[in-house]
Symmetry: C2
Subunit: 326 residues, 2 copies
C-alpha cells in the first residue's frame, strides 16, 4: 500500500483537463492498492458542484492488454445496477490514458468504509452483492482466463521448492501434495461467469449494513461462480491467522448470495473443494512473495500459514462449514 510515483501538480492538472470533469481542486495520494498508485482527486465538477474521483496509475503486475477488460467490466457492472465505480472516459472516449509511459484511469469515487469485523447483516449484504455481480457479469461479453487457478497454484508451490517452503513453516511443503489432490478433485462443470476472485473485506466499502462499493477488480477473470463465493467465504469468516471460524458470518454470506441467486446441489457439494482451492491460491502467492521479499524489507510479509490453516479447516469440515444457521 503506497504511492509509487510522484505526479507533479502541473501534470495532474493537465491530465484532468483531458476529462470533462471541471478543474482540479485537490489531489491526495492514498494508501490503497498493492499493484498501483492511487490519488483521491477533487474537481470543480461539470456543473460547478465538487466531484471526487480515484485516479489510478497502473505500476506493475497489470498487463496493459488486460486493462480494457477491467475498465469495461466496471462500466458494465455499474450500468447493470451493481455497486461498482464507473470508469470516467476522457473527451475522446478513451477509458485510460498514458502518462510517463504508464496507464492511468479516472474512476468514480464511491463512499463507504471497509469493515474489519463484519456483522451478520453486513455479511448478508456482501453475499447478495456478489450474486448480483455474478448475474450482471453473465451478459458482459468479454472474458479473461484465471491465471491463478489451482493448477497454477500447485505450480507456484512447486517452484518455491520444499526447502524454502519449510523455512517459512515446517508444515508448508505438505501443501504441494494437498494442491495436487485438489487439482484432481477440481470440478469442471459448474456455472461460470466473470468473477471478482479477490473479494476480501478491503475490497468492499459499506455504509452501515449495506454494500456501497465493490472495488479493485484487477484479479477479475472467468471462473465458476461458486468458486468466487468460496473465495469470499474464506476471506471473511476467519480470524486473521485463520485459527478461528465464524459460522454465523459464513452462513450469512451464503444466505445473502442465495437471496439473489440459488446455488445448485452440485455447487453446494463442491464448496469444500472450491474453498480449499481458494485458500491454496493465497498460500501459494504469499509463499512466493515471502521467499522473494528480504526478511529485513520494510514491507510486511503476509504469512501463507494464515490460509493454510483455513485450507485445513475446509478439508476437515467438509460441507458442514457451509451449513445454514449457527
Amino acid at each position: 500500500m503506497a504511492v509509487y510515483t510522484h505526479l507533479a501538480a502541473e501534470d495532474l492538472a493537465a491530465l484532468i483537463a483531458a476529462y470533462d470533469v471541471g478543474d482540479l481542486v485537490s489531489a491526495k495520494g492514498i494508501a490503497e492498492g498493492v499493484s498501483n498508485s492511487n490519488w483521491l482527486i477533487e474537481t470543480t465538477g461539470k456543473q460547478g458542484r465538487g466531484e471526487r474521483f480515484i485516479l489510478t496509475m497502473y505500476e506493475r503486475r497489470i498487463e496493459l492488454e488486460d486493462l480494457p477488460f477491467f475498465l469495461d467490466l466496471l462500466d458494465h457492472l455499474a450500468a447493470h445496477g451493481c455497486p461498482v465505480p464507473r470508469t470516467i472516459h476522457d473527451r475522446s472516449g478513451a477509458s485510460f490514458r498514458m502518462l510517463d509511459g504508464k496507464a492511468v484511469a479516472l474512476i468514480e469515487f464511491l463512499p463507504g468504509i471497509s469493515v474489519d469485523h463484519p456483522t451478520a447483516a453486513q455479511a448478508f449484504s456482501v453475499g447478495a452483492a456478489l450474486a448480483q455481480m455474478h448475474l450482471a457479469s453473465l451478459h458482459f461479453g468479454q472474458s479473461r482466463p484465471n491465471t491463478l487457478d489451482v493448477a497454477a497454484s500447485l505450480q507456484t508451490l512447486k517452484s518455491c521448492g520444499e526447502e524454502p517452503l519449510a523455512q517459512i513453516d515446517p508444515a508448508l511443503p505438505d501443501y504441494i501434495g494437498k494442491a495436487a489432490e485438489l487439482c484432481d478433485q477440481w470440478p469442471s462443470d459448474l456455472p461460470r461467469t466473470v468473477c471478482h476472485t479477490d473479494l476480501f473485506p478491503d475490497n468492499i466499502l459499506m455504509l452501515g449494513d449495506k454494500v456501497s462499493a465493490l472495488i479493485d477488480f484487477y484479479f477479475a477473470c472467468e471462473d465458476s461462480m461458486a468458486y468466487d463465493l468460496a473465495v469470499t467465504h474464506a476471506s471473511w469468516c476467519f480470524s486473521k491467522q485463520g485459527t478461528s471460524f465464524d459460522h454465523a458470518i459464513g452462513s450469512a454470506i451464503i444466505a445473502g448470495y442465495e437471496s439473489q441467486r440459488s446455488l445448485s446441489d452440485e455447487e453446494r457439494a463442491a464448496l469444500p473443494v472450491l474453498a480449499q482451492g481458494a485458500c491454496l491460491r493465497f498460500v501459494a502467492s504469499r509463499a512466493e512473495d515471502w521467499i522473494s521479499t528480504p526478511a529485513d524489507a520494510l514491507v510486511t510479509r503476509k504469512d501463507p500459514m494464515d490460509f493454510a490453516r483455513r485450507l485445513d479447516f475446509y478439508r476437515s469440515e467438509g460441507v458442514s462449514a457451509f451449513a445454514a444457521g449457527e
Copy 2:
C-alpha cells in the same frame, strides 16, 4: 510518507462519534506527513451536507506536550483570517484525543494542490501568506523554542562525525566549519514571532495563483520573521538538487512578503546569513537521517548536498540573491 497504523473502521467510527460532525462516510489513508499518519475523512456533516476532514495520528517526533501549541496555533491563525485549517474540537471541547496510546486530532480539510514548479504569481502569494501569518502570530500568546536553530545544527553535524559525513560526500565535513561561522554571525535582535520554519512547496496548497492553505505546522516555533522568510526562499527558488537558482521566484516571494509587511534594513541585510542558516538546518537533519538510514532501506534518503549547494550559493551571492527584479 506513509500510513503507519491500521485503524479498524469500527474504531474510526467510534472516534468520529466523539465529534459533532455527523456519521463516518469514507476514510482513506493518505500518503502525507513524515512523522504521522493521516486519513482523509468524509462524514455526513452537521447539517446532512457532506464534510471532509484530515485525521492525524501523531506517531513519533512530536512531543505530546507540544501538541496544544500546534493545534491552538492553527485555531488562532484561522480565526485571524490566515489560510490555515482549523482544529475540530470534540464534544467535550478537547483539541485532541488519545487512541491506542497515540494522540489524534481532527483537522479541517482545505482544498488546493501543492505546486512543483511555481509561477512568479504563485510565489508572490506564498510570500504574502507568510507575512500575513507572521502578523497574526504576533498576538498568539504561546511560544515554543526553536530546537533546530544554527547552534543545534552545528551540534548535529559534529555528532555525525567527519568520517561518516565524508562518506556521504567528500565536501560535507567542511560544513562543520561553515556552521560554526554562521553561529558567530547569527543576528540576535531581529523582530520575532511564531514561525512555520518548514514552508516547503509540499506544505502549501494553492488554487490557481492563490494560497488556499498553509499546512503541517509541526515545526512551528519562535524565531525571527526574516529567518522564516529565508527558509521559504531557500526551499522555493532552487532546482531540486540546488544547482540552479530562479531569481524571479525569489524576488516574487520577497515582494509578496513586503506587500503585507515591510522588511527593515537590518532584516534585509541579515537575509544572506539567515538563508545559509536555513540551508544548514536541512544539511544537518538530512545528514543525520542519511547516516541512520540503511542504504538498502526502502525509504528514499534525501541528499544533504542539495541544501549544501544552496548554502554555498547564498554564501557567495550575499545580498544580491535577494535583490528586487530579475
